[in-house]
């Protein structure tokens, strides 16, 4: 229990902050949503023209900067990459397609449930199912191969980009697109969002919080360390929502959600499957991208591209439900991720293991 303290604390703080962000203006059950916020940011830059979801979310900027600073302070900032980057881009793309089918990343999924949105149950079942399938591939020897050291500058680029975004947001907002109504128009004050992002970035980097890793580790290693953080988010957000009157139990008329159980299940199934092959959920990818992991930075770009694509081609669901295009895209996603899984199974998993080496201790 003692060794899980840090991650439980992180989870509790994220849960509480999420509830407060909603109180101060973020869309309901969306204190944090990495997929939605990346999508909104892509919209603000005009990468898609869905007018309801355009805003540079300072939470994303805060998470990246917080994780960047914490990784330097903890001597964990290390610039590396080269582990199948384009494959990771494609996996990131389909994580976003799945998330926008469900309407939320794994973090928002848990926040939706904590707000009483029972549709999230189908999402969680799908997510766990997707992770289970991913674990089968890992156990068969799936690997995107190793990373190598890269020049320091590579690792500085991602945090720098977010600083530029923040400067644009506060000093040159006329260059950006902003929603006048819809979820993109609902947001907490800029600095409140930024500070909350910073706190989450620092804590999640330090304690390696990952929503996909939690369920994966339970299935693979019967290790409950990571999932304890995931559960802590739920408990803190649930209590916070109840105290602030933000809890509404039921399936229908839930905020920024639809009631199509099958596609909620399949959407998050795709997110779980692809996230396990990537080694982490969207939040974890964002954190890793800030601490010098260039493959994760490429994954984040895949998320951005997927978000823009989803809205330009009418793949994203709405409160009215999923679209036909979105359903086709999720099915294609499963096929592509399956192929990526199959063709990356290392034939000889023993390749990195040497037997019978004599060592003096």
């Amino acid at each position: 229990m003692k060794k899980n303290k840090g991650i439980i604390f992180t989870g509790l703080v994220i849960g509480l902050i999420s509830v407060l962000l909603v109180k101060f203006g973020n869309p309901a059950n969306m204190g944090f949503c990495i997929a939605c916020f990346i999508r909104d940011t892509a919209g603000a830059l005009g990468l898609h023209r869905a007018e309801a979801v355009q805003y540079v979310r300072p939470e994303i900027i805060g998470i990246v900067i917080g994780a960047f600073l914490m990784s330097i302070a903890g001597k964990e900032f290390k610039v590396r990459g080269g582990s199948a980057p384009l494959t990771r881009f494609v996996l990131g793309f389909f994580v976003m397609i799945g998330a926008l089918m469900f309407l939320g990343c794994p973090l928002r999924m848990i926040l939706r449930l904590a707000g009483g949105d029972l549709n999230a149950i189908f999402g969680i079942l799908g997510f766990a199912g997707g992770i289970f399938v991913g674990v089968l591939f890992l156990n068969k020897g799936f690997s995107l191969r190793r990373t190598y050291e890269l020049p320091k500058l590579e690792g500085i680029i991602m945090p720098s980009v977010t600083v530029v975004l923040f400067i644009l947001l506060v000093a040159f907002p006329s260059l950006l697109l902003f929603s006048e109504k819809g979820p993109g128009a609902s947001h907490a004050p800029i600095y409140f969002s930024l500070i909350d992002g910073l706190i989450v970035g620092v804590l999640a980097q330090k304690n390696k919080l990952c929503c996909a890793g939690g369920i994966r580790d339970v299935i693979m290693f019967k290790d409950f360390h990571l999932i304890s953080g995931f559960l802590a988010i739920f408990i803190a957000a649930l209590v916070g929502n109840l105290l602030l009157g933000q809890f509404k139990l039921g399936f229908v008329d839930q905020p920024i959600a639809h009631t199509d159980g099958l596609w909620n299940f399949l959407g998050m199934g795709l997110v779980g499957f692809a996230s396990v092959l990537l080694g982490g959920c969207p939040l974890r990818q964002l954190i890793l991208s800030a601490e010098g992991n260039i493959d994760s930075a490429i994954t984040v770009l895949g998320l951005v591209f997927g978000a823009a694509f989803a809205h330009n081609f009418n793949l994203a669901s709405s409160a009215q439900g999923p679209t036909l295009n979105g359903k086709v895209a999720v099915v294609i996603g499963f096929i592509v991720v399956f192929l990526i899984g199959y063709f990356n199974i290392e034939k000889s998993t023993e390749v990195e293991i040497k037997e019978g080496v004599e060592i003096e201790i």
């Binding site: 890992l138 290790d223 493959d295 990195e352 293991i353 019978g356 080496v357 201790i361």
Partner: protein
């Protein structure tokens, strides 16, 4: 000084959860294992897994990597 036979697992550069999985495969037959990793998160994960599996873990830091020595 004690000389023991070890399996050596090179998990440097591998992303989560591969170092743990490689360790899991290596300790299946209860042998002593030495694991090389190059990130703090892999060090923590492998250590946690090894201790949960009843191993003693000794960590040595070397330049850019960690050498984890797992013995029963």
């Amino acid at each position: 000084m004690l000389r023991l036979k070890f399996k050596v697992v090179d998990a440097r550069g591998r992303s989560c959860p591969e170092p743990v999985l490689m360790t899991k495969n290596a300790i299946k037959d209860n042998s002593n294992v030495q694991v090389l990793v190059d990130s703090n998160v892999a060090k923590e994960n492998v250590t946690r897994f090894a201790i949960n599996s009843g191993y003693k873990v000794e960590v040595k830091e070397e330049k850019d990597s960690y050498i984890l020595t797992l013995t029963k």
